[in-house]
Symmetry: C2
């Protein structure tokens, strides 16, 4: 058996990456109930929303309102995506302590997604990160389309390292290397993430998988074998990507937590309580969420 | 990157393990169309049916009729499950060249499933295997509930090795170590299968996963890392188990083949052609099959 970490950290991105793709408007009070249930299930890192232009993603137009009402909970870190300086200003006003910036390793995807070249995004975000740090916040960076781009195909690992290093150099404390369309297999993880780890310590790398082809947990295993200890996931497997045709939701928090629990790798998540959280959103969306573990829990309860 | 095999063999169990759990009767002609499409998609090992008591599994009551009409195809091996000597006699009559016997590593599960103790099943199957070998057939053995039993919980790896060795000793050329309820995680594979490999060569071990909790492909990766090169799978993720409450279908052939293809591990499967096969059954069942890869193919076509 390969040597694996005995403890991991799950970054719950359901309230942001999950909900941003849902057309059904979720009332702020329900989002707060969802987040309270996530905290109750043991999640300690929750990406709560995004200070994106409300016209672009109406679902997250209540970001400021939501952040102001986030339940105070010891040991819980909430974060919010900020797409630019204006978003950061809104974030600072609400008092959130951690922000995330989002760029990627594929030029076409980044331009379609955030309307900037990768180079422009790095310039913008180095200003954002500097201001955030100055305001006493911490910053996370996303490297989207780190394996396959829906427009350009295969993504070069050198590009992933380059963007990761740029994000870390501007003050991000971790980069989330993301398989935005869920096309990666473990060989991609060994190759690309392994390459990044030649220059970046594993504690600064998070992995972010979508489960389009069912490979997400295999990719998580590959990440564990590389010594990675931070994994993004979304309650119920909420999510998708409006700029990545055909992409499925994030790997579900239930499924990763089931695997970690079964492997004796501490992740702090209580599965029945997590189901309570996911079912709040499932009920509002009126369709089954993709998590296999959640479906199983429903079938036996 | 761990050293992985560069070629694997998929044993397609959809027509047997998949269909046996479906209440909707599938006409023999449609099963044959399904099997022809599987062959066309590149599958070379197909478990076509079971010579079980037709009263027990009416879906497979057409076993003899089906076997007589199986499309001759160079390099393709068809097999059929035989539960006892009577089943073997029917199998011999139809001219199938490979049979499989089914026992397990958990006493309660085996008794509920096949109505014999494990010891009784090994006695029965050693007679069946001897007669099959004498008739010039080859024999595969299943070790069901090799990790977790729905009745007894955790299964001892020593028991899995013991049953595996008994099956090989009676003349089986491979044992399919099965996670019948889909509860295993990669740590289980490393531990139990690793233990079996201390005494049994990897070429004689197949792994058989169900995807109840989404861990199946992670378990396949763990198997690959142990040097296993044979994996059971079911087109579309058909399947389940009537004696294993809550168990989901077999890992889908689409999902394993996607992962193998992406990893550069030759498995011979053409994914669009495989979808053609799965859609034959999906249409007759009138519900979406669980394969993520199949759903993705449908969403973009």
């Amino acid at each position: 058996m390969p040597k694996l970490p005995d403890q991991v950290r799950i970054v719950e991105v359901g309230p942001r990456d999950g909900l941003q793709n849902e057309a059904t408007p979720i009332p702020t009070a329900e989002k707060l109930a969802f987040i309270r249930a996530l905290v109750d299930a043991g999640l300690r890192d929750i990406e709560a929303t995004s200070f994106v232009n409300p016209k672009r993603i109406p679902q997250l137009a209540d970001a400021a309102d939501l952040v102001k009402q986030l339940p105070a909970a010891p040991g819980v870190t909430y974060s919010a995506l900020v797409p630019n300086m204006k978003g950061l200003e809104r974030a600072i006003e609400c008092g959130i302590r951690r922000v995330a910036v989002f760029t990627g390793a594929s030029e076409t995807f980044v331009q379609k997604n955030i309307g900037m070249t990768i180079a422009e995004s790095l310039t913008t975000f180095s200003e954002v990160a500097a201001a955030a740090l100055k305001a006493g916040m911490t910053v996370r960076g996303y490297v989207s389309t780190s394996f396959v781009c829906p427009y350009e195909g295969e993504v070069r690992k050198e590009r992933v390292l380059e963007v990761s290093e740029a994000l870390l150099a501007m003050g991000c404390d971790e980069v989330s290397i993301s398989d935005t369309i869920g096309a990666a297999a473990p060989s991609d993880v060994f190759s690309t993430v392994g390459f990044v780890l030649g220059r970046v310590p594993p504690m600064q790398v998070a992995l972010h998988f979508h489960d389009t082809y069912g490979t997400a947990l295999a990719n998580v295993l590959a990440g564990l074998e590389l010594g990675i200890t931070t994994f993004d996931a979304s309650a119920g497997g909420l999510g998708g990507c409006p700029y990545a045709p055909g992409a499925a939701g994030n790997v579900s928090t239930e499924d990763v937590a089931y695997m970690f629990n079964r492997m004796g790798i501490a992740c702090g998540v209580d599965l029945p309580k997590l189901a309570t959280a996911s079912l709040i959103i499932e009920k509002l969306l009126g369709r089954d969420l993709p998590s296999r573990q959640l479906r199983r829990l429903k079938s036996v309860s």
